[in-house]
Amino acid sequence: MDVLVSSTIEAFHLLFSGDAEIWEIVGISFRVSTLAIMAAVPPALIIAFFLAYGNFFGRRFLISLFNTFLSVPAVVIGLTLFILLSRQGPMGDFKLLFTQTAMGIGQFLLCLPILVCMAHVSLQSADRAAWETARTLGAGPIRAFFTVLYEIRFGLMAALLAGYGRIISEVGASMMLGGNIAHYTRNIPTAIALETSKGAFAEGIALGLVLLFLAFLLNALLQYVQGRGSINP
C-alpha cells in the first residue's frame, strides 16, 4: 500500500513538473494512434457499407470473419506482422520493422475490425430507407453514402472512440513491432511495461494516469454523444 501511495504522489509530481520525457512518450502515443485510426476509418466505412448493403456471395462469411478478428489478441497481430515485416519476411525490403510506421500498421489492423463491426451494426440499425431516400431524391451513390454516414454519426462516433481506446492502450503489438525505442517508438503502454520491469513504479503510474484520464475523457465523450443520439434519432 505504501508503494502505491508514494508512487502515485510521485507520479503526479512527474506529470505536473513537466517531465519532458513523459510528455514525449504521450505525444508519440497520440501521433501514432491518431494516424492509424485516421487511416483505418475510410476503408472500415467502405467495408462496413458493403457488408450492410451489399448483396454478394460470402457476405455473411465476411461478417463472421470480422467479428472473429475482434477477439484476436494483439500479440498475434503483432507476431504476424513481425514475421511479415522482418528483413527475412516477404515485406522486409520496406525496412518497416521497429519504426513508428510498423506500430501504426499494427494499430491499424487492430482497430479496423472494431470500426468495421461497430459501423456495420450502426448501418444495419439505420433504416435502409435512409439510403433509398437519398437515392430517390437524386443523390449519387457517393453522396448517398455520406448522407447515410451522417444519419448514423452517433454510432460511428462510438465506433471511433472504441477503436481509439483499444489501440492507445495496446501493448503487445506495439512492443513487438515498434521495439520500444526511446524517443521514437516508445509509447504509453510500452513505456509502462518498461518502467515496471525497471522497478520505476512512479513513472509507470504517471503514464497509467495519463491513459486513465484519456479513457475517462473518451468515455465521457461517448456518453455525451450517445445521449445526444437518443434524443435526436
Binding site: S86, R87, L97, F98, I105, G199
Partner: protein
C-alpha cells in the same frame, strides 16, 4: 476493392518519412542492460561524437541474436558467451568484442532456510537449495540469465525439478517480485537487483564466485549475410565502446552509488 485500399494505405505509410540510412544504427540488447540505464548514459555521447543515432531495442538475449541473424538490427550487445560464439561461428556476426562484465548474485529470504549465505561456491549454494527443496524461482524464459542459471545447476551437478522449483517465464523484475512474495531464492543480475532492492524484503545472500561473472560482448551483424545492414555504423560503435574514454565511462556508471559494470578493456591512463 480491398487490395486497392490496402495498397493505398501501404503507400500512405511507406511515404511517411523514416530515417533508414547510415546515420541510423539499430542495436539490439538485453532488457537488463537497457533497464540499468547504462545505454541512456553512453549512447548520447556516441551520437554526439559520430552523428549516428542509435535505436535501442531491448529484448531477451535469444531474441536479440535472432534479430541479428535475420538482419533486423545492425549490431547486438548481449551476455551469453556460448550463444555469442555460436552466432559468430555460424557466420551471422563478425568483429565480436568484449565490452564489460557484471555479476549475478543469489538472493533470498532473510531467514535463509537453506543456509546458503555461508557457502564456499555457487555450486554449494545450489546444492543446499536442492537438498532442502527450498523454493527457488527460475526466469524460465530462455534469456541470458536463465541460460546462466541452468549452466550453474549443471556445475552444481543437480537437475532441479519439483514443486519447489518454479519457472515463471517473466522478466527479472517480475521474477524478483515473485521471489519476494513467496519467500523464495532466485538468481539475479546485480543491475536489476539494485533497481528493485528498496522495494523488496528478500536479501542479497551470496556473491563473488567466478562462475557468477557475466561478460557482455558486442557483435556486428555480418554484412556479407545481410547486405543492407549499417556495418560501418556497427564498427564505429564497437570501436567507440571499447575505446578508453567509453570504457572509463562504463567504470564510472553508478546506480544507487554502486558500480554496476566493470570495463573489459584494460585502461592504460
Amino acid at each position: 476493392m480491398l487490395p486497392k485500399v490496402f495498397l493505398l494505405l501501404l503507400g500512405f505509410f511507406v511515404t511517411t518519412p523514416i530515417s533508414a540510412d547510415d546515420s541510423l544504427l539499430r542495436l539490439a540488447t538485453t532488457t537488463s542492460t537497457a533497464n540499468s540505464g547504462l545505454m541512456d548514459y553512453l549512447l548520447p555521447r556516441f551520437t554526439e561524437e559520430t552523428s549516428i543515432e542509435v535505436h535501442l531495442i531491448a529484448v531477451g538475449t535469444g531474441k536479440a541474436l535472432r534479430l541479428g541473424r535475420e538482419g533486423d538490427v545492425d549490431v547486438v550487445l548481449v551476455h551469453a558467451r556460448a550463444a555469442e560464439d555460436a552466432f559468430v561461428n555460424a557466420g551471422h556476426g563478425v568483429n565480436r568484442a568484449d565490452v564489460m562484465y557484471n555479476d549475478f548474485i543469489i538472493v533470498g529470504p532473510e531467514s535463509d532456510p537453506a543456509d546458503v549465505a555461508r557457502s564456499g561456491s555457487v555450486a554449494e549454494v545450489l546444492q543446499k537449495i536442492f537438498d532442502k527443496s527450498a523454493p527457488f524461482i527460475s526466469r524460465g524464459d530462455d534469456s541470458g540469465t536463465h541460460k546462466r542459471e541452468l549452466l550453474l545447476w549443471q556445475i552444481a551437478g543437480r537437475s532441479p525439478a519439483g514443486s519447489w522449483y518454479r519457472e515463471v517465464g517473466q522478466g527479472m523484475g517480475k521474477t524478483l517480485q515473485i521471489a519476494n512474495e513467496i519467500d523464495a531464492y532466485t538468481m539475479t543480475d546485480r543491475g536489476t537487483w539494485l533497481a528493485y532492492q528498496a522495494k523488496l524484503e528478500i536479501k542479497l545472500l551470496f556473491q563473488g564466485d567466478p562462475p557468477l561473472i557475466n561478460p557482455y560482448g558486442i557483435i556486428a551483424v555480418n554484412p556479407e549475410r545481410q547486405q543492407h545492414v549499417n556495418y560501418q555504423g556497427a564498427i564505429k560503435l564497437i570501436k567507440w565502446i571499447t575505446s578508453p574514454a567509453a570504457q572509463k565511462m562504463i567504470g564510472q556508471f553508478k546506480v544507487r552509488n554502486q558500480q554496476l559494470f566493470v570495463p573489459s578493456v584494460e585502461n592504460k591512463d
